[in-house]
Symmetry: C2
Subunit: 412 residues, 2 copies
C-alpha cells in the first residue's frame, strides 16, 4: 500500500464538534458527567443523531439502545463495515473518551459524502449503550448479554428495563440486537489511549493488538487480632503482614511475565484497623490483565502457590474468590496490518500495543473481525477533567480510521 487516496477529514470540524458535545453534562469544575440513561445522554444522543442525518445516514436504535447511523453502500446486500464507540462518560469524565470514536466515524461519512464517494459496503457508525458501566450495548450485539435484568445496575434511576425504554431500546427484545459476521464484516474503533504508552514512546498511532482479558479476585486473609504490645512477634498471626506479602507477590508475578501484563491490588481494608492492635483480618482485591488467557491463567496459578506459602509462613488463612473473568479479544491480524500500513502511508509513527482498558471492541471482536486505533492521551490521563488529546492528534486518528475503512472496503 504505497499509494492511498488523497481524501482527508476536516479536522477543524471534528474538533468543533468534540467541543460542542462536551458542553452537555459539563460540571462547573470542567469535568463531564454524562451517565447512560440520563437527560444529559438523551440530549447528547439527539445531537449526534442530527449530525448523522446531516451526514447522509439513516438512523435507527436497536433493542439495546445502540444508536446506529448507516451510510448506504454501492452493494447494499453486502455485510456492513462498522465503526463507533460511546458518548456516555464516567461520573467525572473527560471529553475525548468514546466521543472521539463516534464523532470521527461521523466525520468519515461526511468526508466520503462531500467527495461523492460511496464504499461498496454499507458503513455503520454505532453509539454503544452504557460502555462505562453495564456495557449492555456491545454485549447485546455480541450475544453475551446476561439473561436477568437484575444483573444490570444502571447508574441512572430505575431498572435496566425502564432505562432501555427511555433511550428507545427494549429489554424483552434484546436478542434482536445481536449481530454476526454475516451482517457486520469488520469493526474498527478509534479511541484515546487512556494511558501514557504512546506519549512516552513518542508515537502518534497505537495499532491495538487486542483488548486484554481481566481476571479479578477477592482475597480475604484471616489472622488473629491481638494486643500490639503484649503479643511477641513470633506468636502473631498478622493479617496485614500476610497481605503485604500478597501485594508484593502480585507485583513480582506481573513483572516476571514476558508479555508485560498488569496486576494491581487497588482495594485493601484492615480490621480492626487500630494503631495498637495486630491486624486480624484484611480484605483485598487483585486485578490482572493481559492479551493472553494463558498468561492470565499462569499468573493466577502462581499467585495461588504464593498464597499457600504466605499463609503457612504467617499462620493465617487466605481465601481467594472470583470477582470477574473476562476473556481477552484479539484484533484481527489483517485489520491490524491495515491500520499499520495506513499509518505508515500517512507518515504517522506507530507501534503495536494491547488495550488494557475495556472497550466496546472487546465484545464486538467476539463476533466479527475487529481492530482499534489509539491516539495519545496527554500524561496518560483519562476519566478525568484533565483528559486531553490535541486537535492534531484527533485528526490524525480520524484520518487513519478513514483510510483503514477505505482499505477494508477493498479487502472484505
Amino acid at each position: 500500500m504505497e499509494v492511498i487516496s488523497k481524501l482527508a477529514i476536516n479536522g477543524d470540524r471534528l474538533s468543533a464538534n468534540i467541543n460542542r458535545l462536551a458542553k452537555i453534562g459539563r460540571m462547573p469544575n470542567g469535568e463531564i458527567c454524562r451517565l447512560a440513561f440520563t437527560p444529559e445522554i438523551l440530549q447528547a444522543r439527539y445531537l449526534v443523531q442530527q449530525w448523522m442525518v446531516e451526514a447522509g445516514m439513516t438512523v435507527h436504535t436497536d433493542a439495546a439502545g445502540n444508536l446506529i447511523g448507516r451510510y448506504a453502500g454501492l452493494a447494499e446486500d453486502m455485510s456492513a463495515l462498522a465503526t463507533g464507540s460511546h458518548i456516555d462518560t464516567v461520573p467525572s469524565g473527560g471529553k475525548y473518551d468514546g466521543v472521539l470514536g463516534v464523532l470521527a466515524g461521523i466525520e468519515v461519512v461526511r468526508t466520503l459524502r462531500e467527495s461523492k464517494t460511496r464504499l461498496k459496503h454499507p458503513l455503520e457508525v454505532i453509539v454503544f449503550t452504557d460502555e462505562e458501566n453495564t456495557m449492555i450495548g456491545c454485549q447485546a450485539m455480541s450475544g453475551t448479554a446476561k439473561r436477568s435484568p437484575e444483573d444490570y445496575k444502571p447508574k441512572a434511576e430505575g431498572t435496566i428495563e425502564t432505562c432501555l425504554e427511555i433511550i428507545g431500546g427494549n429489554w424483552d427484545d434484546l436478542a434482536a440486537a445481536r449481530r454476526t459476521r454475516a451482517d457486520m464484516a469488520a469493526f474498527v474503533e478509534l479511541h484515546v489511549e487512556q494511558g501514557a504508552v504512546l506519549e512516552s514512546a513518542g508515537k502518534e498511532i497505537g495499532v491495538v493488538q487486542g483488548v486484554v482479558g481481566m481476571l479479578r479476585k477477592a482475597i480475604s486473609i484471616e489472622g488473629q487480632a491481638n494486643h500490639a504490645g503484649t503479643t511477641p512477634m513470633d506468636m502473631r498471626q498478622d493479617a496485614l503482614v500476610a497481605a503485604a506479602q500478597v501485594v508484593l507477590a502480585v507485583q513480582e508475578i506481573a513483572l516476571s511475565m514476558p508479555s508485560h501484563p498488569v496486576a494491581t491490588v487497588g482495594f485493601l481494608t484492615v480490621a480492626p484497623n487500630a494503631v495498637n492492635i495486630v491486624p486480624g483480618q484484611v480484605n483485598l482485591t487483585v486485578d490482572m490483565r493481559d492479551l493472553s488467557q494463558d498468561c492470565l491463567s499462569e499468573m493466577l496459578e502462581r499467585l495461588q502457590l504464593e498464597i499457600k506459602t504466605i499463609a503457612t509462613a504467617t499462620n493465617t488463612q487466605i481465601e481467594l474468590k472470583p470477582l470477574l473473568c473476562v476473556e481477552p479479544t484479539l484484533a484481527a491480524p489483517q485489520v491490524q496490518a491495515t491500520i499499520a500500513q495506513v499509518s505508515q502511508a500517512l507518515g504517522l509513527s506507530h507501534i503495536a500495543m494491547p488495550s488494557r482498558a475495556g472497550h466496546d471492541s472487546l465484545e464486538i471482536g467476539r463476533v466479527t473481525d475487529m481492530g482499534m486505533i489509539f491516539v495519545p492521551s496527554q500524561n496518560g490521563l483519562s476519566h478525568s477533567g484533565e483528559e486531553y488529546t490535541s486537535p492534531e492528534q484527533c485528526t490524525q486518528g480520524a484520518n487513519v480510521l478513514l483510510h483503514t475503512l477505505l482499505q477494508l472496503d477493498e479487502m472484505y
Copy 2:
C-alpha cells in the same frame, strides 16, 4: 530468703470480690464496660472504698481522683510502701485487668490485719484514675501530667475538669497529687499479663523487668492514582506497593533486634481504594515497643533509612510524623530480685519478662522504686470478655504481692 512467713491471703474471698466487682458495668454479652468518670465507675469506687475501710484503711481521694487507702504503719513517719492498679476498663473489657491488682492489695491488708500484723511502713493501696484512656491518675502522681485540660479527652461526657470533679478530684490542684520517693519508698503492682508469654512458657509468675517505652509514628505515602489497566507496571507510583514494603520492613527490623522488641502496623488505609485504580495514597501507623530507649531509637533510624530506599524504588513520597513517644521505665533491680526470690520460696515457677502493655507502673516507676508481678492470661486474651485468669493463679499472684511487700518492709 529461704524462709518466709506462713501468712497467706484468702483466695476464695479474693475471687468472690473479683466476681462481685465484675457485676458493675457488665453488659449482656458478658463484657464489662466501666469507663472512667461514668456512673459505673462511681459505683465501683464506692464498693472498693467500703472494702478498704472494712480492711482497716483510712481512705482519701487526691486531686487527680486517685482513690488511696492507707493502712497505718508502726512508724507513721516512714515513707509509704504502695501497691494498686485500676478498676476502669476499656469499652469491652474483662474482669481481671487492673481489678486484680487493686483487690489483691486490699486482700493483703486484710491478711495483715487478721493476723494482727503491721508493717513498719504505712501501706497504701491505690486505685488510679482512668488508666485505660488518659492515664491522668498516674501521670499526676509522677508529675508528668499535661498542662492543658484540652490534652485530656475523657471517654465520659464533659471536660477533664468536670470529670475529675465527679470523682472528687480537682484539676486546678492537680500538682498536689504529685508523689516523690520521700513519701513513697516503693511501688509494686500485680497485674494479669494480657499476653501469652507465661502460658506458653508454662510459668506461674512473671517478674517484670520494666514497662516498655512506645514510639508511634504516622506514615503517609503519596504515589499517583492511575488506571489499573492502562498504566504499565514500570510507569506506576503505587502507594500500596510502597506501603507493603514498609509493613514488611517494620517486621524485619523488629525481628532483627536482639532484645525482642515488638513493632506493629495496625492501621492502614488506601485511597482511592477501588479495584481498578492503582492506589495513589496510603496512610499507616507504626507502633514500636521495647524496654530500651536505645533500641527504639535504633529501630526508628533503620526504618527511616528503609523508607528512603522504598520511596526511591517505588517513585513515591513518604513522610513520617510523630504520634506518641513514651520512654520506657525499668523496674528497680532489688524489687525484681525480691519478687523472684519470693516466688521461689513459695514454690512458684517464674521468668523475667518485660511488660509490653502500658500500666500505672510506667509512670510511678519514674518517681520511685517500682516492680510488677504478672500472672498468666488464658490464651493471652485481654481487653475482651474472654479474659480469664484462674482463682488459683490470682491467689498465687496475691501471695507473691503479700510476701514481696513484707520483704520490702525490711529492706526500705
